[in-house]
């Protein structure tokens, strides 16, 4: 176990948590092939799963297709679900998997450079630019706009880095799970995550940098 004083991602699916009784009743209906139960799950969770897919795939059509794959696969394999996690958590994993399968099928983009998005240093180890402070995010409409611009910035990260940031920091997977899904090592996941965060920080720096600095 790694100690993690800074572990941002722990609850990927904040949700009006259904009671255990609701969950097991719903699961029993799903296992019995109750069409109404399928429909309920699709209506209640489709939007959240689509949001997950959009973060990973960015492309809207691909995202919708991945969500459809995920629901079909989930219901087809409902007998294998043992009920040791919430239905939402289980669906979330299947959705992430469906997205990653689509990414693997796509011809790999070679665009993995973070050129210009990583901090630069001289031979003496001093930074090319001094880092400043950031102003506090505003409230209300401006906050909604700000959040949108942050989502756009995340989508701008090269796929190679974006995926790790999304899986670790947003979807709440741990390093080992992320490494397994991406078929790489935990050390590689850590390096990519750090680079992705640095690049996103650079992209956000223009928006948030305090004018007084």
């Amino acid at each position: 176990m790694t100690r993690a004083p800074f572990n941002p991602a722990s609850a990927p699916l904040p949700h009006a948590a259904p009671t255990a009784a609701d969950e097991s009743e719903l699961l029993a209906r799903l296992k019995a092939g109750d069409g109404g139960a399928y429909e309920q799950v699709v209506r209640e969770m489709g939007g959240r799963m689509l949001a997950v897919a959009r973060r990973i795939l960015v492309d809207e059509n691909e995202s919708q297709d991945a969500v459809q794959d995920a629901f079909i696969s989930a219901f087809r394999n409902i007998d294998k679900f043992e009920g040791n996690s919430q239905i939402a958590t289980w669906l979330h994993r299947i959705t992430v998997n469906a997205c990653l399968m689509r990414l693997r099928k796509k011809r790999r983009k070679d665009e993995v450079s973070l050129e210009g998005l990583l901090p630069a240093f001289g031979a003496d180890g001093n930074p090319a630019h001094q880092a400043g402070t950031w102003r506090r995010a505003a409230t209300g409409d401006e906050q909604a706009e700000t959040r949108e611009s942050i989502r756009v910035a995340i989508a701008k990260l090269p796929e190679h880095y974006r995926i790790v940031l999304v899986l670790r920091d947003i979807e709440g997977l741990d390093t080992a799970q992320t490494a397994e899904l991406l078929e790489t090592t935990e050390a590689a996941v850590k390096i990519r995550l750090h680079r992705a965060r640095q690049a996103l920080r650079e992209l956000l720096d223009n928006t948030f940098r305090d004018g007084l600095n």
Binding site: G46, A51, Q130, A131, A144, Q198
Partner: protein, 102 residues
């Protein structure tokens, strides 16, 4: 070495052992390890000594943490309910693929 290639932690340890000190580049390269408490006490202390005297690195650490927090807030379904909307056409498509036209 390409731009942004990760440096090995042992490189840093060797330099520190040879009497070197933590510089701004080290702070940037090993920041996540620092935040994850992966540095070991001795290097951690030296890292913090650098932070105490370097305003730019303190700002960098703080804005890096803010970056992660802002990304989470921007994607949190509770804070952004519109992100959780599913187009009715997709719901219909899924239900009909399941043999349940809505």
């Amino acid at each position: 070495m390409s731009a942004g290639a990760p440096r090995e932690f042992t490189d840093l340890l060797n330099r520190l052992e040879a009497g070197g000190s933590i510089n701004c580049r080290d702070c940037s390269d090993f920041l996540m390890a620092y935040l994850d408490n992966d540095l070991g006490q001795d290097v951690r202390d030296r890292f913090e000594q650098h932070l105490n005297k370097c305003c730019s690195c303190r700002n960098y650490v703080e804005t890096y943490r803010q970056t992660v927090k802002l990304a989470q807030e921007a994607c949190c379904p509770k804070a952004n309910p519109h992100l959780g909307k599913c187009p009715p056409e997709l719901i219909s498509a899924i239900l009909s693929a399941l043999g349940r036209p809505s």
